[in-house]
Amino acid sequence: MSASTANSVVEPKPWARRLAGAAVVLYALITIVPLIWIFLTGFKTPPDSISYPPKVIFEPSLEGYVNLFTTRTRQTAEYMASLPPPENWVERLVRDRNMVIAGPSKFGERFLNSIIIGFGSTFLSVFLGTLAAYAFSRFKVPLKDDLMFFILSTRMMPPIAVAIPIFLMYRTLGLSDTHLGMILLYTAVNISLAVWLLKGFIDEIPKEYEEAALIDGYTRLQAFVKVVLPQAATGIAATAIFCLIFAWNEYAFALLLTSGTAQTAPPFIPTIIGEGGLDWPAVAAGATLFLIPIVVFTILLRKHLLRGITFGAVRK
């Protein structure tokens, strides 16, 4: 018997492979079609976006993106006629609808808020989670199992179930509609996931490495930084992605607790109102742009992510 067959599973039958392949393709299509639709809608004109039957072939337009980043006012035909010729393509696009640009929209700010709060809470969750997981993994912590269970139990109900107490608490503490408040909230929700995930990763790192580092003249903290962190990088990256995805996509708390200064993009995007209802191309453009950071972040860390998800299933 050759070595390669020792731990390989039975090869699937050709028809089974084809069936599995078809299932994967079908699933990918189902998940990706809404994304493609949003992406396309972002390049439609408002009339195209609500036409029935839906238009698959259309003349692309940047009107959605222009509307996303600007606020506009409708003017009378006389006023429009009195204006000097448009200076650039953006103005021309707006004037075609008998409107002029009144100023920038709030999308840029909201997007920045999302970045600050999303990445801030991810950093804090992973930072605290790594330290806590290391402590739980390596030291004799009194009531360790109970504490771990307690940490897990914070995820046993949907966070929104405690929305009202948190709303009242935040109002009293002055944390409503602040970046700090949102960072703390998302960190609190994510930290249990971070501790549990990271503890699994750190448990897998033999403690002999730290012992070797201690003997080589490093303190416990230096050994942690020099020896444990590099080996936990995969787990940290995977955990960071999970935390970021939650904080980035969170809608309910953001809607409830933020309204101005600290409002993130998710509650803002659906409120982009055009004339006679929602401005669908602008909403779609906002959603498309909103996807980009998380896609980039995930691609950057994807090789860690795959190993992170399958971790523990495959022993080296």
Partner: protein, 340 residues
């Protein structure tokens, strides 16, 4: 380099006493080998010296200073772990340089380069310096682990079965090399093994250890020739010492209280004789290459001894046996010596 003194050091893990009130002094520049089977407490003893375990009782002195409560970082010892424990995210070079780059003994990079290169030469791994530590064979990993200890000059080198995963040839070379380095540096070295050849060839003194207790300490020849009890006698000698009841084989006059006789090759005379004078039968001759083991049955007992490769004895030969000054033990396994 310094003297290391263990006094009454004790370590328990729950119900088990891994190291039991051990007293041991490793003199400055001395090579001491702890010899014992798996689970005897050898590794725990090393870890106590290093500070990786906290002693339940007793004390550790390094260079006259009580370091019983000190952290490993400040004890200035180096340790070769049995499982190598090379940092997997670093190259071989960075692994070897790691102790020299520690904050407590910052070394200039040119000096690090020079020392790492020298150690790599000595351990015959200079072509592997740029490899990741995980891209090495077991033997190479073990050499890097040894190198990481030798790259600096600590108070004491602690080595936990450092040669266990090398092949026989390399192990023999490394034994000589380690001994040479130790002599050259005048290094204090506490070495743990279950391999009697390593103990015999390298040690200034051997400490035979069993169930956390130090049974006997002495020079290799002393431990081999003059064991204090049956346990120590069985730890050394290849083939293992033959333990036989008295009166099985003529042995001249024996000290009072002798119950068991320990006979090694050098205590046994074997002659081919005719069937009526024979006590035993040759059952098998094993040619191991470097040794030839002769298996003889005497009644129910089997005796194993060495013979010359060109021995005239053959299987089924009838032989007589005689013991010359064998080791004598009482019923409890303690040594009994001829008085006077």
């Amino acid at each position: 380099m310094a003297e290391v003194r263990l006094s009454g050091i004790t370590k328990r893990f729950g119900e088990i006493t891994a190291v039991d009130a051990m007293d041991l002094t490793v003199a400055d520049g001395e090579f001491v080998v702890l010899l014992g089977p798996t689970g005897a407490g050898k590794t725990t003893t090393l870890r106590l010296v290093a500070g990786l375990e906290k002693a339940d009782a007793g004390s550790v002195h390094i260079a006259g200073q009580d370091v019983t409560a000190a952290s490993p970082t400040v004890r200035d010892v180096s340790f070769v772990f049995q499982q190598y424990s090379l940092y997997p995210h670093l190259t071989v070079y960075d692994n070897l340089a790691f102790p020299l780059r520690s904050p407590v003994r910052r070394t200039p990079e040119p000096e690090i380069r020079q020392r790492v290169t020298a150690i790599a030469e000595m351990l015959r791994i200079p072509h592997k310096l740029e490899n990741k530590a995980t891209q090495l064979s077991g033997g190479e990993m073990q050499r890097v682990a040894i190198g990481r200890a030798l790259v600096r000059a600590p108070q004491i080198y602690l080595m936990d079965e450092p040669l266990s995963s090398l092949d026989a040839k390399l192990r023999a070379e490394m034994r000589i090399e380690l001994k040479r380095i130790q002599k050259e540096l005048g290094a204090t070295l506490l070495y743990v093994t279950h391999d009697q050849i390593e103990a015999m060839t390298m040690a200034n003194r051997i400490g035979v250890i069993d169930q956390g207790r130090l049974i006997q300490v002495g020079a290799p020849r002393e431990i081999y020739e003059d064991p204090g009890n049956v346990y120590v006698a069985t730890r050394l000698g290849q083939p293992a010492i033959n333990l036989i009841p008295r009166d099985l084989i003529p042995a001249g006059s024996l000290p009072a209280g002798t119950e068991t006789i320990g006979a090694r090759t050098e205590h046994i005379r074997i002659q081919k004789v005719s069937a009526e004078r024979a006590q035993g039968t040759v059952q098998w001759i094993e040619h191991l290459g470097d040794q030839n083991h002769l298996h003889v049955t005497v009644g129910e007992r089997k005796i194993t001894t060495l013979v010359e490769p060109d021995t005239e004895l053959a299987v089924h030969d009838q032989v007589s046996l005689e013991l010359i000054d064998p080791l004598c033990f009482d019923g409890a396994g303690e040594r009994v010596r001829a008085s006077g």
